[in-house]
Amino acid sequence: MIELSLQKKLLFDTVEAALELVLDIDHGSITTLYGKSGAGKTSLLKMIAGLMTPEKGNITINGKIWYDSTKGINLPPQKREVGFVFQDYALFPNMTVKENLLFAQDKTGDSKRIRQLIDIIELGDLQHRRPGLLSGGQQQRVALARALVRKPQVLMLDEPLSALDYDMRQKLQQYIIQVHREYDLTTLLISHDISEILKMSDKMLIIDNGKQIAYGDSKEIFTRKNISAKFQFSGEVMSIEKQDFLYIVTILIGRDLVKVAVEGSDLENISVGDQVLVASKAFNPIIRKIR
């Protein structure tokens, strides 16, 4: 359980405003932070990690106080049990993959943990290479493994998958979910990808200019109202074409383009580039074997 209440003046797009957040995050949940760049997402993670100091407030993790401005408590990042995956991965170029993991280990740490992590995240073949020679996805995996060496209570990932292609993303989402369960973590991640959020997270927090806009179940938030759909997918509108009385909307769902015929009235507020939900209520979808 993470309980936090934070206040800090930050620069949002050259305008100074206060980040003000009060949040309870369930133990064992995956929560996505969503919002424009510069909304305060990374700042929030850094304050939890102790890399940025708030002006006021408190952070309590599983009953242990990490920060409390009234009591003058502020644990340094070294003493907070967090795993942090940086946007640029921050792997140390002077060390091999294995050395990066060993560096993270405490003096008392057991080497079993590292072997286990290398197994789970499938780094066996890469362990003696230096990070500079790895692909983005491989570096990402190393960063994820390294963040878990010290048995953190909270795992934080700053846009971990944004620089990766579709296939690599799918795979890494699996890795993250897998370690999240395996190590009983409370995970916070920043993502802009709606399908990723729906797939991975239990809850999502939308922030803008340092303020909470919405917090709750990710699907409910995205659909706003509850659709009792038989099936639903999220995707991005690629084009809208008028044909006689109808509009043909082309939507990118995953890697597939899907065409949907809709009436003009359904297209209010929807334009090219929007993230939309495709759902069916009245008809049963057909399933056909393709492989």
């Binding site: 850094k46 990690a49 890399l51 070294q78 795993g83 942090f84 940086f86 921050a90």
Partner: protein
């Protein structure tokens, strides 16, 4: 034939100066790179002064300061038994000050150019500031360190004005190679002046060439 003692003295001076500078410059450059203190522009200016100040000016003030009958020089002489005016130790102190920016600036740039996340990642992994400095930051800025070391070394070999002011021209003690060249020319011994000059020229040229060759290849590539 030339005397070898000025050349030996020059390289001894350059080695000691470079070593001392390396020890001073790493914490100083780290502080300059990351500190937000208001006093910082003043310190930056002081560190950079030797770049623009005539060496004779620096030498002159140091000579005044080191004068054993003056306040500071007298204190050094009475309490620590050190005489810096016209001594090799004085040359070392003067060279350290004179070559300071050549060591500090590349290292400072090295710190600034490292991604901030390296430091943050090391802290989150439970590492202290000192461990982070020696195991993460410094090993990833080898080319900056090498540049600093070489520039400070070469610059110390090349100094003349400060050395002459503070050390004079005492053979075997303060008569370094650059002063020996001047001395030889004054005595119309062009042959030995030429030998000293040629040796200094080839050594400094070689050192700089090696640095540019190594840094051009990207030093991290070499360690792989």
């Amino acid at each position: 034939m030339i005397e070898w003692s000025p050349l030996i003295l020059t390289f001894k001076l350059a080695c000691i100066t470079t070593l001392i500078l390396l020890i001073i410059a790493i914490p100083l450059a780290h502080w300059l790179a990351f500190s937000r203190v208001r006093l910082k522009p003043l310190i930056t200016t002081l560190v950079s002064m030797p770049l623009v100040l005539p060496p004779t000016v620096l030498g002159f003030y140091l000579l005044i300061a080191f004068n054993p009958s003056g306040t500071f020089g007298g204190w050094l002489d009475n309490y620590l038994g050190i005489r810096l005016a016209f001594s090799f130790e004085g040359l070392v102190v003067a060279s350290v000050i004179y070559s300071l920016p050549f060591m500090v600036h590349p290292i400072q740039a090295g710190f600034v150019n490292l991604p901030n996340s390296f430091k943050e990642a090391a802290y989150v992994l439970g590492k202290s500031r000192v461990t982070t400095l020696f195991r993460v930051l410094l090993p990833n800025m080898k080319s900056s360190l090498l540049t600093g070391i070489v520039l400070a070394f070469a610059h110390t070999i090349g100094e003349f004005g400060v050395v002459l002011m503070i050390g004079g021209n005492i053979p075997g003690k303060t008569k370094v190679a650059s002063v020996a060249v001047y001395d030889a020319v004054e005595a119309l011994e062009y042959g030995s002046a030429n030998t000293y000059s040629l040796i200094l020229f080839s050594i400094t040229f070689t050192i700089l060439l090696i640095v540019y060759l190594i840094n051009g290849k990207d030093i991290t590539g070499l360690t792989r």
